[in-house]
């Protein structure tokens, strides 16, 4: 048995498609939805843990891509170095999932790691380099 963590990116028209339950059935996989996020304007994003035979996993991911869903392996986590973050706000429009967002009242920038899909877009875009890749 093998396990894999992956990010699925759903284009808008596929957001309602039952892709995950289908691959579980067809390819005999166990799945665990770690994070799911559908941003209003754009695409849907889901972070999954998948378990099954290596062969089935490969086949399942190929099938998912054929359906038009983007697949990206998730091997690393992105974390925030709280000491280095200056709450400047340079990351909030870069983050695709609003894992990084500003509280309007205080203008503090919050990092909600549950929503983070580890796309790493914020890493070079953060001026004090507070967003770090954890292996």
């Amino acid at each position: 048995m093998a396990t894999r963590r992956v990010v699925f990116r759903y284009p808008r028209h596929l957001i309602d498609a039952p892709v995950v339950s289908q691959i579980a059935r067809i390819y005999n996989l166990e799945f665990n939805i770690l994070r799911a996020n559908i941003t209003p304007q754009s695409e849907g994003l889901m972070v999954l843990g998948l378990e099954g035979s290596a062969e089935d996993l490969d086949k399942a991911l190929t099938w998912v891509q054929q359906q038009g869903v983007g697949v990206q392996p998730l091997e690393r986590d992105v974390v925030r170095n709280e000491e280095r973050c200056t709450h400047c706000g340079a990351c909030v429009t870069i983050c695709p999932t609003e894992a990084l967002h500003k509280k309007i009242a205080t203008q503090e920038v919050c990092f909600d790691s549950d929503k983070c899909i580890a796309c790493e877009l914020c890493v070079p875009a953060c001026p004090p380099r507070a967003m770090e890749v954890a292996f």
Partner: protein, 404 residues
Amino acid sequence: MPKTYQEINEKIKSGQVVVVTAEEMTGIVEEEGAAKAAEQVDVVTTGTFGPMCSSGAFLNFGHSNPRMKVEKAWLNDVPAYAGMAAVDLYIGATEASEHDPLNRDHPGEFRYGGGHVIQELIAGQDVRLRAIAYGTDCYPRKELDTWINITDLNECFLCNPRNAYQNYNVAVNLNADRDIYTYMGVLKSNLGNANYCSAGQLSPLLNDPYYRTIGIGTRIFLGGAPGYVFWPGTQHNPTVARTEKGLPKEGAGTAAVVGDMKQMSPEWIVGVSMYGYGVSLQVGLGAAIPVLDEEMARFTAVKDEDIVAPVVDYSRNYPYNEGQPLGYVNYKDLKSGQITVNGKQIPTGSLSSYPKARAIAQILKEWIEAGQFLLTESVQLLPSADSGLTFKALIERPVEGEVI
């Protein structure tokens, strides 16, 4: 009755002073009116924290034996300017590391530079100094490679030619398909986002829009320690268009500031990397503004919704000095997370930290309440809107004939 600096300082010394932050002053003036607020409040504190590229530090590291007149120098591989005397250096915030790939692989990451060296010095970390020289009879040494630490330096002071911009552009990208990488951050194509860079209602020069109290000799908060304004900042441009309340509608006044790095803290001076642009320095700065009269009470009651900033396209208009702003937006809307430009709703990001600005205004307030920070009367105020001073563009005069 107008107050004098002396009166206010006597109150600070005797613990009688009434100090509020610029945020608090807004409410006081709204409730009590400017006349009463001017009687009640003596000092209003302000703050700003953002990347201020025109920054740097002077340091004197003492004479080696044998002596050396440094010709070229590097601090942690970042070139420092050595064209002053023998062992004085200036390290500029935007100087990239000697071997940085810069933008050869665009967008470059710009991991390390002068801004980082300055923060590390302040943090008390050892910094490697390498230097070379041609050698003279009085300064024979030609090479140097040593660790230095701020505690061993004779002098080490931040000396920033242009800080605390009074208002600034809101940057957007009109290009249909290319993201751009600017000193205003990453700007997504087709009006994908808008970045602003001002503390708005907390910003020092927006609380004293005509520079009635800020000028040469004004004591300020700089990097966590007391510092001073020593000159109008470069590109100081007081004659721009203003709103009815006298607030400049674009980048206007600036201040040149100086302060002792040995007393500063790395919490308020932070080296930064602007993706695809270069290195820089986030600077924390605050001014304590005396409420001399009713007019100063009104000025220091400034609100985010009163301050407007121009929305400028950085894909074409800014780099090529073309066109007009796409419109004006106020800071209340900018801080709400969304503005409308060309009929499109776009999310806003920022480069200036409002939580840090607020913390600076609070610290200054505490320093004054504790009697540790007295106000200084400027010996010469910054040139104001009536000065006729404008910010000129370069008029190039092509060099013909003799080629060097």
